[in-house]
């Protein structure tokens, strides 16, 4: 016995239309459509094996019901985003989120510490910064504090050139939890922006769509990552592109977002603003800028898998999801291992009471001072 919804899920993940997939497995399109839409269709062994073979999913994947399906959400996506890409991304998101839900049943996770707070995006961003305990300057790492307040961050092992991100409040027995889904391959600065943007949606909006809510989410993201107070102090008057590239390194945001902030801070005229963007375009960097900001990896999904399945959780995760072990490895690779937890060197004037200091330099100085 198999579940038709699983066949559809696997087909969409493959990126095939019904006609294409029907041809692959030797069925008619109508037959496949019927199969996908029946809850528990009957199927010949040959067709079953053909489906498993062509989709790459083990037979047991089709023999279990799906759960934890993500609501239909609109993607923040590029203009080139096609329906087939969207379906593929959504199918992958559901596959991964299903295992998240199953693990969440058995593992304690951080309590959700945020709630929707519709209001002024800038003010909400400032309050949210305080909630996360972020310093007044650059946000060294956004992912970890966001996960600490109970946001489920999932990165999918599919390309981020076409997709950006999406978010939704998902139901759960302990109450709804915020879910942000991002994609592999997204440049580090854009990934941070996407997460900040989606946080804006989660806090400010109750669904809906349109340019206005997108603008509000952008305003929120800009204030979260680059507070205007700091920008006003740091962006020089009439900045050159080179200065903004240097700021990009420190602030972990794109040069293009800094150009926008420069205009908002009154550091450039409209003419200079246009000129800076023209320079970015002339370098061919509108979609992908040089000088990459390191990508941040979420941790909790992998940590949940480690809690349940040990330090090498791929076999256990593949069994849980009905996946191949290779796919489980691909999924896990999107998340930080313990050794990949964000670390940074801090310079302390005294032995500051950092509870999470793991190493103090105690090298004996042997400088050849006179």
């Amino acid at each position: 016995m198999i579940y038709g919804a699983r066949v559809r899920q696997a087909r969409l993940f493959l990126g095939a239309t019904q006609t294409q997939f029907a041809g692959m497995i030797g069925m008619s399109q109508a037959g496949l459509s019927g199969l996908e839409n029946e809850t528990k269709p009957t199927i010949t062994d040959d067709s079953f094996l053909a489906i498993a073979e062509h989709t790459g999913f083990p037979p047991e994947f089709f023999e279990r019901p799906s759960c934890g399906l993500i609501d239909d959400v609109q993607f923040r996506a590029r203009l080139t985003f096609k329906a087939v890409d969207r379906n593929q991304a959504m199918s992958c998101a559901n596959l991964v989120h299903e295992t998240y839900v199953l693990m969440r049943e058995k593992v304690e996770v951080p309590t959700v510490g945020m709630r929707p707070a519709p209001g002024d995006p800038r003010e909400t961003a400032r309050e949210f910064r305080a909630l996360l305990g972020l310093p007044s300057g650059p946000v060294a790492n956004l992912t970890t504090p966001v996960e600490r307040i109970g946001v489920a961050l999932i990165t999918l092992p599919v390309g981020g050139k076409k997709h950006d991100a999406f978010s939704t409040w998902q139901p759960g027995s302990r109450g709804p939890y915020p879910l942000i889904v991002t994609f592999a391959g997204t440049p580090g600065d854009r990934l941070r922006w996407n997460i900040a943007h989606e946080l804006g949606h989660l806090l400010l909006h109750r669904g809906g769509s349109g340019q206005e809510i997108e603008r509000e989410a952008d305003v929120f993201a800009a204030e979260l990552l680059t507070p205007m107070k700091a920008m006003a102090a740091e962006i020089p008057a009439r900045p050159r592109l080179a200065s903004l590239y240097a700021m990009k390194m420190r602030w972990g945001v794109s040069v293009q977002s800094l150009i926008r902030r420069a205009r908002e801070a009154g550091r450039v005229t409209d003419e200079q603003y246009t000129s800076l963007f023209r320079q970015v375009s002339a370098r061919g960097e509108r979609m992908s800028e040089r000088y990459q900001v390191p990508r941040e990896k979420p941790r909790i999904y992998r940590k949940m898998a480690e809690v349940l399945f040990g330090e090498s959780p791929a076999p256990g995760l593949s069994a849980l999801g009905g996946w191949t072990e290779e796919f489980a490895q691909d999924v896990l690779a999107q998340f930080a291992s313990k050794s990949e937890m964000p670390a940074r060197r801090v310079w302390v004037s005294q032995q500051a009471a950092h509870s999470n200091v793991v190493e103090f330099r105690s090298v004996e100085r042997r400088a050849k001072r006179l």
Binding site: V73, Q74, Q170, H205, E234, R344, V358, F360
Partner: protein
């Protein structure tokens, strides 16, 4: 204009490039030292040339992270534009900041001056001409001085010149360093109470209620759009 600032605060503000730099400096030193030994060359015989090869190695490692204005010829001095700060990396002379033998270096050392020589670097150098004009600085000069004992990095001091109301000082990056790692989510652990999100996991109640519910459009579907799921924490 940069306000006077504590050197520790500055170091933490530019921690990312400084962190990279220290790591690459230690690695480059080790690699170049071993390369010299493998070729039968004693690095100590020509410390200046050896420092240059280390500099090149560091530059090669830093290059992918550099903004364009920091891009220079491979053997150029290590000079980085870090937003409001300009950082030069110099091999120590007698365990401290090298004397300003060139016009460029003198100019760099004086970037922060307010009518007095900065960092006490130039006081013992007879060639320095003290400029009359007192200017408020637009940028801040920093100098990272390093030294080695064989393949080991034994000195990494960050210097910040004095400003009007801020005494010049140096920060010992090797000693005053702590590596801070985010704790690994100690609250994520096995839940043996059976109070997990079991309803969602069954896919029959809550999760099912969301399926096909396209009323909540946009990037973010709001929690209040689902009946019975309005109680946020």
């Amino acid at each position: 204009m940069i306000k006077e600032d504590d050197l520790v605060a500055i170091a933490n503000r530019i921690w990312r490039p400084l962190d990279l730099l220290l790591g690459y400096l230690a690695d480059g030193l080790q690699e170049e030292y071993e390369a010299c030994i493998a070729k039968g060359i004693d690095p100590a015989e020509d410390a200046c040339t050896f420092a240059g090869t280390v500099r090149r190695s560091v530059y090669d490692k830093m290059r992918p992270h550099l903004p364009p204005q920091s891009a220079r010829a491979p053997m150029s001095p290590l000079h980085f534009d870090l937003g409001p700060y300009q950082l030069k990396v110099l091999h120590a002379e007698e365990g401290t900041v090298p004397r300003p033998r060139t016009v460029t270096r003198r100019r760099f050392y004086r970037r922060n001056e307010l009518g007095i020589m900065s960092m006490n670097l130039l006081l013992d150098h007879p060639l320095v001409v003290i400029e009359e004009e007192v200017k408020e600085i637009e940028d801040g000069s920093l100098v990272l001085v390093w030294d080695n004992d064989g393949p080991e990095l034994i000195l990494a001091d960050l210097y910040r010149p004095p400003l009007a109301d801020f005494p010049g000082r140096s920060l010992d990056l090797l000693h005053a360093t702590a590596v801070v790692v985010e704790p690994d989510f100690p609250d994520v652990r096995r839940d043996d109470t059976g109070t997990g999100d079991s309803r969602a996991a069954t896919g029959t109640d809550d999760a099912g209620a969301g399926e096909g519910d396209t009323g909540a459009g946009g990037d973010s579907a709001g929690p209040d759009d689902r009946p019975g799921e309005t109680d946020l924490p």
